[in-house]
């Protein structure tokens, strides 16, 4: 019995410790953002790595998600004779929820895991210590550019995901299922608000998700146990924790934005 309580206490203390270390790490990275200004090319290279190279998966998934939404939405809407509202259904669900959330989940899998593995391996092969030996701060040279790149890349990826998804929904709904072309766009335009749906949904949500996913990925890598098992475990934790964080945060953000 006491053994059980002790292990429970150990686990919760350990998770509090990790959370505290993670928050301190976040503050340390934010404090070093200023040092990036003269070295923006570092950020550029990371935007390439996490953003541009995630484009393919984002575009392909976006198109398929939009098409599936149109197919499913059509089947339900046509029962009520409201197939013309398909545009609204596709656009609202993509801008408010699916665009930012799915882009963030894909980003966590595609770019977040890579960030963790990269930094974890730097830790395991003592590259980070080597940088420190040369009086180069690894937080500002290695971590901060990746952090900024993640926050820049995810909103752009989410916007691309949403736009491609809507085009996919249009192709499927209007091209395949025969929904009226004008009604598709006009209903969409009259029901989707620029600030509330696109601003809050695509822009604000994905900036927050970008920040959280990149933070978790970088922290897990930086904090990884410097062995191959440690890096593997850290990469897994990145994908699991950032997916959970995105989904949980999405619920909170939706409650705040669209109640």
């Amino acid at each position: 019995m006491t053994e059980l309580l002790a292990s429970l206490g150990r686990t919760s203390l350990a998770s509090f410790e990790r959370l505290g270390r993670g928050s301190l790490f976040f503050c340390a990275v934010v404090a070093r953002l200023g040092t990036l200004l003269p070295r923006l090319e570092l950020v550029l290279a990371q935007v390439w790595a996490v953003g541009v190279r995630s484009l393919v998966i984002i575009v392909v998934s976006g198109a398929f998600v939009g098409m599936v939404l149109a197919l499913q939405g059509y089947n339900t809407l046509v029962t009520f004779g409201a197939a013309e509202s398909l545009g609204v259904v596709v656009a609202k669900s993509l801008t408010r929820e699916l665009g930012p959330v799915l882009a963030a989940l894909l980003f966590a899998g595609r770019a977040g895991s890579a960030l963790t593995a990269e930094i974890g391996l730097m830790r395991a092969t003592e590259q980070l210590s080597a940088l420190e030996m040369m009086a180069i701060d690894p937080l500002s040279r290695v971590v901060a550019p990746r952090f900024v790149a993640g926050i820049i890349a995810l909103p752009l990826l989410a916007a691309i995901f949403t736009a491609v998804g809507i085009v996919g929904g249009y192709l499927c709904g209007v091209g395949l299922l025969g929904v009226d072309d004008g009604a598709f766009w006009s209903q969409m335009q009259s029901h989707v608000a620029l600030g509330a749906d696109i601003g809050n949904g695509v822009v604000v949500k994905s900036i927050i998700f970008g920040l959280v996913v990149t933070w978790i990925a970088l922290f897990e890598g930086y904090d990884a146990i410097p062995t191959s098992e440690g890096v593997a475990a850290a990469t897994t934790r990145t994908v699991v924790n950032s997916s959970l964080a995105v989904l949980g945060l999405d619920f909170v953000l939706t409650g705040l934005m669209f109640n």
């Binding site: 090319e41 550029l44 290279a45 935007v47 390439w48 790595a49 953003g51 541009v52 484009l55 009520f80 004779g81 409201a82 197939a83 013309e84 509202s85 656009a91 801008t95 890349a153 909103p155 752009l156 990826l157 916007a159 691309i160 949403t162 736009a163 491609v164 809507i166 009226d180 004008g182 009604a183 766009w185 006009s186 209903q187 969409m188 335009q189 009259s190 989707v192 608000a193 620029l194 749906d197 696109i198 695509v202 822009v203």
Partner: protein, 159 residues
């Protein structure tokens, strides 16, 4: 990682693509500009009540799409709604005394303009006005009239 030209161009393109997606979302998905069909000829019609007709709604004749509503405004002198529509050039021979009505597609569907052909020898031309119009059926009004007629009848029969 070495910063090559390819990386710079790639990132530039990526940022442009992202911004283009946002612009597409703001203009095409949210209503920032009034997209109007530019071909065809323009016809206006005045309605007492257009219900929830929207710009870009369909203009149909015999159920066939022949044009689009391009603009909706209110005429404060005539106290009527002005509906501007563009009809495809393929349908040039619509009689000038045709009538326009606001219909609803299905029970909950989108509203559209339905044209019923008249018998005149002259045709609608660019800038013409459709004189005969019928307002949208507003459910509350229809119910009101129905109930009013019903009670009027009821009180008559009790007399």
């Amino acid at each position: 990682m070495k910063i090559t030209r390819t990386v710079e161009i790639g990132v530039g393109l990526f940022v442009c693509l992202g911004i283009a997606a946002l612009v597409m979302l703001s203009f095409r998905v949210a209503n920032l500009n009034a997209v109007s069909t530019t071909h065809g000829y323009k016809v206006t019609a005045f309605f007492e009540n257009i219900g929830s007709l929207q710009a870009r709604a369909a203009v149909k004749m015999g159920g066939v799409l022949i044009g689009r509503v391009t603009g909706i405004s209110y005429d404060p002198k005539r106290f009527q709604a002005v509906v501007e529509m563009r009809i495809d050039d393929a349908y040039k021979t619509i009689p000038a005394d045709s009538s326009a009505s606001v219909f609803t597609a299905g029970l909950l569907g989108e509203q559209y303009i339905g044209l019923d052909p008249g018998g005149a020898d002259t045709y609608l031309t660019n800038g013409a006005e459709i004189k005969l119009t019928q307002s949208a059926l507003v459910l509350e009004r229809a119910l009101q009239e129905f109930l009013y007629a019903k009670t009027a009848k009821g009180s008559e029969s009790t007399k």
